[in-house]
């Protein structure tokens, strides 16, 4: 699994400047979604679930197998997408073979985790496990439905299913696993009990109920049925309920312990992630409503929102998880604390710059569309923002490279085989 994480790092948040080719964009989306976040998530799940269940992973061999399957997918994705071998469906570009491979890997991961949880030695399920259980059940299904590999639906139905998938890869996988990780990390890092178990359950069921139907809000102004749009928009707004309960829970857990974020670097990543989660989830329902969507749709604002969720929130929490779990797994401290700090600031400031420039660019675009000004006129106005966005991309990539270097040095300062043994031992011990 560590190999999996390692592999994913170079492609993390590969921020292509706007002027690069669409192929880069395809690979960027897939590398972030399948490569970085999913792989990191599965890695964290494999670490956290045995920890929470106080038992071993059901099958180590299966775990390693899924790791290789996943890496194979990523290599395949790189080779195909960069050459334009795509299915032409946003977020579901991967070809048929890779689709199946991912589905198989996911089902195996789910099986592995379910069996681990069945063999657990604690009676009560912690909320993180709820989230993981839910995600691992939902996501393989969402993936299989969403890929539409072997079916050809008529255009708009294709779009409906496509956005069901497109939003739920976020909602039923990135969000639920990410939030599950926050539930795990915050109490561990602050050494404080979770504020309320009841509240966490409310958040979980809220998200389970309200997230899945929201996909159609991506195509609010296309001629799809109005009732479907209504369901999507209403559930988007209802999403505020689970989000606010979850965040109340986190912030109350943090109460009186905010100061720890100054010295504790993984915690700092986690807290930043929570803050961005708040912003992104307030933004989401707001821009899903018809009248806001009318103005903001199709612009860089939405791109900013997507980065806020995937980069600001879930990438940060994942980094936090890695910084937390890697020393525990290997039994070694991180190679350099300074590099972690540099990583944090590069990523944080880079992201703020990116978010600001994308949002402003989006507002300019919105104004252009709303006033009916041709693209080639306002297109020039947003060039400076794209420039800043490029700079922010470089900052973030630089941060991630430092991160990768740090992880590499941490892992391989001693002979490699002892590290592998230590990792295994740590997993067993945990």
């Amino acid at each position: 699994m560590i190999g999996g994480l390692e592999f994913s790092m170079p492609d993390l948040v590969k921020n292509v400047p706007q002027l690069a080719f669409p192929h880069m964009r395809m690979f960027h989306v897939n590398a972030v979604a399948v490569g970085w976040l999913s792989m990191g998530y599965v890695g964290s799940i494999f670490y956290m679930v045995p920890n929470l269940c106080k038992t071993k992973l059901w099958s180590e061999r299966l775990g390693n197998m899924t790791m290789w399957a996943w890496n194979l997918v990523l290599v395949g994705a790189f080779c195909t997408l960069v050459n334009g071998n795509t299915e032409g469906r946003e977020y579901a570009e991967l070809g048929a073979i890779l689709d199946v491979l991912v589905a198989v890997a996911l089902v195996l991961v789910a099986l592995n985790i379910y069996m681990t949880i069945l063999n657990r030695r604690v009676k009560k399920l912690y909320v993180t496990l709820w989230y993981f259980l839910g995600s691992l059940f939902w996501f393989p299904l969402v993936w299989i439905i969403g890929q539409r590999t072997f079916v050809a639906l008529p255009g708009l139905n294709d779009a409906i299913v496509g956005w069901f998938y497109g939003h739920n890869i976020l909602g039923m996988w990135f969000t639920t696993v990410g939030v599950g990780m926050m539930y795990y990390l915050l109490p561990r890092l602050t050494q404080a009990p979770l504020y309320s178990h009841g509240l966490s359950m409310l958040g979980f069921w809220g998200i389970a109920l309200f997230y899945a139907p929201t996909g159609t809000h991506h195509i609010t102004q296309s001629p799809v049925p109005e009732w479907l749009k209504a369901i999507a928009i209403i559930s988007s707004i209802f999403l505020l309920v689970p989000v606010l309960t979850v965040l109340t829970n986190f912030f109350m857990t943090m109460k009186g312990r905010w100061g720890q974020a100054v010295t504790d670097l993984p915690l700092r990543f986690a807290v930043t992630s929570c803050m961005f989660y708040l912003v992104t989830c307030v933004q989401g329902p707001f821009q899903a409503t018809r009248w806001v969507n009318w103005y903001l749709h199709f612009t860089q604002w939405v791109v900013g929102h997507a980065h806020l969720a995937l980069l600001g929130t879930f990438s940060f929490i994942l980094t936090s998880a890695i910084y937390y779990s890697l020393p525990k797994l290997t039994g070694k401290e991180f190679y350099s604390q300074g590099l972690i700090r540099a990583h944090y600031w590069l990523k944080f400031l880079g992201f703020l710059l990116m978010m600001t420039s994308l949002t402003i660019a989006g507002l300019i675009q919105s104004a252009g569309w709303a006033m009916g000004i041709p693209v080639d006129q306002w297109g020039l106005q947003i060039r400076p923002y794209w420039f800043f966005r490029g700079i922010s991309g470089i900052m973030i990539v630089l941060g991630q490279l430092l991160f990768a270097y740090n992880v590499w040095k941490t892992l391989y300062t001693k002979p490699a085989e002892s590290v592998a043994k230590a990792a295994k031992a740590a997993e067993v011990k945990a």
Binding site: M26, E90, I145, P154, N157, F164, L228
Partner: protein, 359 residues
Amino acid sequence: MHSYRLGAIGIVTTFFIIIFSTVLLPMVLFNPTDKEHRSNDYTKVPSNVADAARGRKIYVREGCFYCHTQFTRLQDRGYGPLVKAGDFIWETPHQLGTARTGPDLTNEGGRMASEWQKAHLIQPRAVKPGSIMPSFSYLSERDMNDLVAYLQCLGNRREVKDFVEAPDEYRTTTPAGVALHNRKTVDTNASASANAGRGIYTQNCAVCHGLEGYGNGPNALSLEKKPPNFSRPYYKQYSDEFWFYRTSEGVVGTRMPRWAETLTEEQRWYLVAYLKTLPQDQEVTINNVNQVNKVEDIRLPKLSNQQYEPHHGGHGHQTEGDNMSPSEHQMPQPSAPSSSEGTNSSTTTGGAATKEGGH
């Protein structure tokens, strides 16, 4: 055991309810048909010219949909007719798109000549300064032609039958528009109102638009974008709402101010009443869609990559290249049969061009 069995049942049922309502139900209930035959017809390009269906695959392969959308919205102006659900029934995978970094392509077919489209693919900045589209000059000749054919099929020549209308918030289709009309006390058809509006016009508008609205006010001399001639028949089809909208919000890209900032609603309605009375000249203008010049039917562009790539500019010394100068291609070629244009081999096209050059 029971603690998570209940939960598991909950997760499973919630998920399937949602799948049912948002994935399966639309499949059953939402089956649009295309009775008016508005959907894109890729077969109308003769097979010896180019393969538009293959062009669609190129469009997908090159990821055009990341920056170009393919559905027009109610609020989009100048992108052709609004799409209907039936337009998309053959479109799979759908190319609706999510972001408009470039213009919408729903009704792109027939807007520009194929030569323009091809030149734009090879070097976007050559034909559209300020464009940020990447160059697709690496596409093969065949790919490029198929892609152009696909673009020319988009929209299936759906036409806009009506002139542009004022935005919704000025019309009675929205609450804002209804409120506007309820507040209106001026009878815009009465000559007394026109008389009242005349004073407002002379004080505020005549300096650019001229006393009779010919667009010949003294200030017009210094304006790069000249004021329009209101005596053209085109302006006679303006509705009250449209006049009101124009005076209120000004005209983007020109010096026309937003009069809503300085004039009251009542004053602007008086102004509308006056503007409607301006005389009409007998000038010939286009006031009907059928009078619009249309580009010719889809044919193969006779361009070479070298022409539009600046860094390859110096190589066009062959006789073939000379025959294909851009000026020649701006000339209409009504007599050229589509079959000769359709061939992809450079020898045939070169030969045809030589013949035409001889005339």
